[in-house]
Amino acid sequence: MNAIASTHITRPVTLVEAINLALAHEMQADETVVVLGEDVALNGGVFRATVDLRKQFGLKRVMDTPLAETLIAGMAVGMSVQGLKPVAEIQFMGFIYATMEQVISHAARMRNRTRGRLHCPLVLRAPFGGGIHAPEHHSESTEALFAHIPGIRVVIPSSPARAYGLLLASIRNPDPVIFLEPKRIYRAANQTVENAGQALPLDTCFTLQEGQHITLVSWGAMIQETLEAAQQLAEEGIECEVIDVATISPLDRETIICSVAKTGHCVIVHEAARECGVGAEIAATLAEHALTDLRAPVKRVTGYDTIMPYFKQESLYLPTTEKIIKAVKETLDYD
């Protein structure tokens, strides 16, 4: 029996350990859940997200695949229409593009095109984002590519507890989920996670702290800098409401609009490039639904519209706490 899942222990874990706990829990609870990908079985994944799962659940449920991303995504589609719940790992999001045809043309529309006869409850997990001095193609933040696709969900956790709860929810969700893991904070902090199989809701933002002066909207690893900025601003008497979007698609517009109705100001923070990023969608939403509540233009603090630089200069690209603070002050100074 699986020692981790059978006892509902509560202990401090990192984000990547929380992923592992959630996978183990769900594999224990539901025998249709299978894990597949490159190096996930024997090696436990290059970031160790799937470590020990092979030992606990055997080779039939934890599968090392050949090096072929299209195949991994295509197999996940095939497995899911057969009633399995595949959780496929793409080693880095930089290599996810080969799966896009499978995701967009098959997984996302299986339910629609068969009018509900078939559907694809699968999870495609991938580490993403910069800040860990990784080689070329390993640091991009291209979540907006998937956010544009109808029929799927794009979920991004920002802490161990949310990683645990959101991954459980994603596996249990009856539709395909792209689950993107901010690898910069894989091991950044420990947080107590109760391993009791409690999922968190999808399609909803999480308000991490309330404040009346300005709304800060972010997700993934940038939540760290956003919270840090909010804390520094609090020392100057500026109270920020911090929203973790968590499911970037479909977007919980209501939480953001209601918050801005209260604060009248909004700064959006993401590390992806600005143009056509998810921040643009949020800003457009506010223009449509909160224009009269806004007392200043919505500001975005984002990566530049450049190719993510190699790591010698990645810190120039990534938004910083200072940049967030500056944007907040400019926004508040507007009125």
């Binding site: 090392d64 299209t70 080969a98 193609h137 450049t306 010698k312």
Partner: protein, 361 residues
């Protein structure tokens, strides 16, 4: 009534080597191999081995980013580099340090790349060669395109592309191979089969006995060579290039070798690989094999060996110093090399970056 169709297809994938692991040679060596070539090859292989060890040390001391060791690949890659003509185009993957350096890429440039600096790919001496390819197998498609262009232009050059055993599982590889056959492209595809794709062994990658036999389906020649035998790889790449120059089309070469180190400095191969297997591989690896052969032939001595190692260390030290002393790139370079002319829409961001890093506009 049932009728039968006669199918008489059979295939044979030759396996080639001359220098045997026991330090003897299956004589004679191919006529493309001269004594001078052997000495030059050995010197380069030793240089790259020493460079590689230094690169790993730099990573361990925080002076380099994640680095993929090429220990075990020296023989194959030196053979490719020496067999190629400067005007040919090389399309590498990320473990081809020995070839890149022979193409004219400085060791300091290789370090710059793995040190997180785009300038490491600005190959001045081989401006037609492609930079490292990190996404697996996509480079085979680029190579097919380059070879097509060479053919269309009617020049006599060829393209050489490399990839690992893992890369042969991807559609990209098969699609490029297929096209290369159909279009008779001047392309040499070298699969460097080092037995592992991170933790996935060659056997789990594909059930075919050889990877070279994938050539059969594309209607092109496929051959297996001992990748730890410099002479076999050199001779086969040379022959494949001659075929390409003469318009006879592509060749697939599978070079069987072993990845002696971890996958990269971020990997720990002891998690999935038996120590014994690695120890055995060290007994037949290419650098020592060629050294032993040269000594037996009295083309090389212990004294020259000591001298050469000193020379290699000095060369590597100079390159490392060059790398470590490289002034940082301009922060705004990320915008300056994005488009030929920076679109107006991005000017504000460009200026913001320039101002925040106090650069002269």
């Amino acid at each position: 009534m049932q009728s039968t169709i006669q199918c008489n297809y059979a295939f044979n994938i030759p396996g080639i080597r001359y220098l045997l692991p026991d330090n003897s040679a299956q004589s004679p060596l191919p006529e493309t191999i001269s004594d001078e070539l052997l000495i030059r090859a050995y010197q380069h292989m030793r240089l790259i081995r020493i460079f590689d060890q230094k690169a790993i040390a730099l990573q361990r001391t925080g002076q380099l980013g994640t680095y993929p060791s090429c220990q075990g690949h020296e023989g194959v890659n030196t053979a490719i580099g020496l067999a190629m003509h400067p005007d040919d185009v090389f399309v590498p993957y990320y473990r081809d340090q020995a070839t890149l350096n022979l193409r004219g890429v400085k060791l300091s440039e290789i370090l710059r790349y793995w040190g997180g600096d785009e300038r490491g790919s600005n190959y001045k001496n081989c401006p037609q060669d492609l930079p490292n390819c990190v996404p697996i197998a996509t480079q085979f498609c680029h190579a097919a395109g380059i070879a097509s262009a060479q053919k269309i232009k009617g020049n006599k050059q060829a393209t050489v592309v490399t990839g690992g055993d893992g890369s042969t599982s991807k559609g990209d590889f098969l699609e490029a191979l297929n096209l290369a056959g159909a279009w008779h492209l001047p392309l040499v595809l070298v699969v460097i089969n080092n037995q592992w794709a991170i933790s996935t062994p060659r056997k789990a990658q594909c059930n075919a006995t050889t990877l070279a036999q994938k050539a059969i389906g594309a209607g092109i020649p496929g051959v297996v060579v001992d990748g730890d035998d410099f002479t076999a790889v050199y001779d086969q790449v040379h022959k494949a290039l001659q075929r390409a120059y003469l318009g006879k089309g592509p060749t697939l070469i599978e070079a069987i070798t072993y990845r002696l180190g971890d996958h990269t400095t971020a990997d720990d191969a002891t998690r999935y690989r038996a120590r014994e297997e690695v120890e055995n591989a060290w007994k037949t690896e290419s650098v020592t094999r060629l050294l032993n052969y040269l000594k037996i032939r009295e083309l090389w001595s212990e004294e020259r060996e000591q001298q050469w190692r000193v020379t290699c260390k000095e060369t590597v030290d100079v390159e490392v110093k060059d790398y470590l002393n490289t002034p940082p790139d301009k922060p705004t370079a990320m915008f300056e090399h994005l488009y030929e002319t920076l679109p107006r829409a991005y000017l504000a961001q460009y200026e913001e970056l320039a101002v925040s890093t106090r650069e002269d506009l």
